[in-house]
């Protein structure tokens, strides 16, 4: 079951407001996401995966003050998951000096980032420049609506509308409604 960004974010803010139930729902919903995130990157090391999942949950819990409520939750969440992975690989490299994990990681991460960037660029190029820019600023570069509005020199509601229409057009295109 895939939980939406909006739902995760609602649970996160609920937890920040002191709602233990929301906080628990959040951590439980993150479990499958974390397991598949680490399993894909540490092939076959199931103990390591579970250790990392637990460490990440603890980090998310103890460092939740570092979440900015005006920004996407999943970006914050995966940034923490990625940091925990890199830290894990660094520690393991210290005991297994033959493996040059860092260079592998850098190469892998770069390829992933590069191809994701290319897909995004190709998709965004099908939109109007204003919509493309609004989506890139808020969803790719992680700016807040206010920052994106200031950067593009347009109103906040203009950014919101551009993002909304742009995403809708992209969704339609991806579903194949329009070739």
């Amino acid at each position: 079951m895939q939980v939406s960004e909006d739902q995760l974010k609602a649970w996160m803010t609920g937890g920040l407001d002191g709602d233990a139930g929301a906080h628990e729902a959040l951590l439980r919903a993150l479990l499958p996401l974390l397991r598949s995130f680490y399993r894909r990157r540490l092939r076959g090391a199931d103990d390591d995966v579970e250790d990392l999942v637990q460490e990440t949950l603890i980090s998310i819990h103890t460092r939740r003050a570092s979440y900015d409520r005006d920004r996407p939750f999943t970006a914050w969440f995966y940034a923490i998951a990625r940091y925990r992975l890199i830290d894990h690989l660094r520690r393991r490299r210290a005991s297994v000096p033959i493996e040059d994990v860092e260079s592998i990681l850098v190469a892998e991460g770069f390829e992933e980032a590069a191809s994701a960037r290319m897909d995004v660029d190709a998709l965004l190029s099908t939109l109007s420049p204003k919509q493309a820019r609004a989506i890139r600023d808020t969803h790719v570069d992680g700016l807040s609506i206010a920052e994106a509005a200031e950067k593009a020199g347009i109103g906040k509601s203009d950014v919101k509308v551009s993002v909304h229409r742009g995403l809708k057009a992209l969704a339609a295109r991806l579903k194949g409604d329009r070739p």
Binding site: E50, R63, G142
Partner: protein, 213 residues
């Protein structure tokens, strides 16, 4: 412990984290360190006896404007770098504004001062100790920021360490102004900045080790 138990234990005591908690934590770390620095300046160096006179003069406010604006800029950088999501450091160039302004005042000073007095104006009375005092006085504030970072999630540790060092250095220099009687812009531009930069450099050096989580 299995993951289920872990989640249960993490969610037994869920405290409220207000929206301002992040800024407050950074503020508290700096303020806590600044109190220690202030006590050190008062007890070991002494507040300059003519402080209330100096506070009516240009030089004192020039120094404070310089160090405080650097301090404010550095705190913004710390706030950005203490979050895990890669947010841009656009605006970091603003830190150059106070430096350039002070350099402008310095050039004005040089023009209006006879050439033979330049060296004395540049070295002042305390150029040998000033950078080292600023650096030493920055340590309590740096430690305070390390405490702030324990609830943060920096992912660019070297940059975060440098920003923390810069903030600590700039605020330490601000407090050091209460002691230091120097008045020339080129003195401040050289020796204060050197102390602040040393603090930032040490922060960058130790950041990856001390800010790891």
């Amino acid at each position: 412990m299995n993951t289920d138990q872990l989640i249960s234990s993490l969610t037994t005591d869920v405290r409220r984290v207000p929206r301002r908690a992040h800024a407050q934590r950074i503020g508290a770390g700096i303020a806590g360190g600044a109190v220690v620095t202030l006590v050190l300046v008062t007890a070991l160096l002494g507040i300059r006896p003519d402080l209330h006179v100096a506070m009516h003069g240009f030089a004192f406010w020039m120094k404070w404007t310089y160090t405080i604006s650097l301090g404010v800029g550095a705190v913004f950088a710390v706030a950005r770098l203490s979050r895990p999501t890669p947010s841009s450091l656009r605006g970091a160039w603003l830190l150059a504004v106070p430096v350039l302004l002070l350099a402008g005042i310095g050039i004005g000073e040089l023009v209006t001062t006879p050439y033979r007095d330049w060296l004395a104006m540049w070295l002042g009375q305390s150029w040998k100790v000033c950078p080292w005092l600023v650096l030493s006085l920055s340590m309590p504030i740096f430690v305070g920021l390390l405490w702030s970072f324990r609830r943060m999630a920096p992912t660019r540790l070297r940059a975060a360490g440098a920003a923390a060092g810069l903030a600590a250095g700039a605020w330490a220099a601000t407090i050091y102004c209460l002691h230091c009687p120097e008045v020339s812009a080129i003195f401040v531009l050289t020796w204060y900045s050197l102390g602040i930069l040393l603090a930032a450099g040490i922060g960058a050096l130790v950041g990856p080790r001390l800010l790891r989580w």
